[in-house]
């Protein structure tokens, strides 16, 4: 174990991102897919904060601040969409949401 540097944080960020992506691909519940998307966003945030810290530049943190705000807005709208969708179709399984299919 060495003292944590920029590398360490970035590796954590990358792994977290991949976890989220894996969830998006594998899971079928649309709510959980949504959570996985949040996971990926947070991974990006982590990378930004660590760059900000180690490059001595506060702009990264400002960016994270904005991302958090936008993510909140996105969640609000996205969940509203999911609710509307559920009212129509009575399901949250993406395998049942295939109207676009031939």
């Amino acid at each position: 174990m060495t003292a944590p540097g920029l590398h360490h944080y970035l590796v954590i960020s990358a792994l977290l991102f991949c976890l989220g992506l894996f969830g998006v691909i594998v899971r079928r519940n649309i709510l959980i897919i949504y959570m996985c998307l949040e996971l990926m966003l947070n991974a990006a945030n982590l990378a930004l904060v660590s760059f900000s810290r180690f490059n001595n530049n506060l702009d990264g943190q400002v960016m994270v601040f904005f991302i958090i705000t936008v993510a909140a807005a996105e969640v609000a709208v996205g969940l509203a969409l999911i609710v509307a969708l559920y009212r129509r179709r009575q399901t949250t399984d993406v395998h049942d949401l295939t109207t676009m299919k031939l």
Binding site: M1, T2, A3, P4, G5, L6, H7, H8, L10, V11, I12, A14, L16, C18, L19, G20, L21, F22, G23, I25, V26, R27, N29, L31, I32, M35, C36, E38, L39, N42, L46, V49, S52, R53, F54, N56, N57, L58, Q61, V62, V64, F65, F66, I68, T69, V70, A71, A72, A73, V75, A76, V77, L79, A80, I82, V83, A84, R87, T92, H95
Partner: protein
Amino acid sequence: MNALDYFFYLFAGLTLLCGLMVVVNPFSRNPVTSAMFLVLMMVSLSGLYVTLHAFFLAAVQILVYAGAVMVLFLFVIMLLDLKEEEHRKIKLATLFLGALSVGSIAFILVKLLGNARLVSDAPSAEGSTIELGLKLFRQYTLPFEIVSLLLLVAMMGAILLSKKEIK
């Protein structure tokens, strides 16, 4: 390697573990469990922020994500009154393909990071609230205001979408 550094490994481990639990939940197929693990992940992530001396963001992370966003998630889960998911097997092919693509991305990223010579100063930036605030209200005033508008629009959209009958 001082005492504070151990916190990094602690929170990093926790973050990854909880993230994994969100994706592959061995305890229950109820989405509420996943949501709770997500909250845990957020909290440990804010711990990581603290080790990066981004105190303000750590607080915001807990307030906005763990507080507001996750409450919203739980509301919705309960509003929809989701029963336990039916036991539909995840197809092996999906699993394999997902693992393949994500694995290759992870491999590329990690290998890249291993080879990269990152130019980093000594960790010096103190993410103090005062400095962040000054930057936000001086340099980033316009984006700040636009984001507030975005929140307004999102709110209106959410209200409109949640109405029972969309006309």
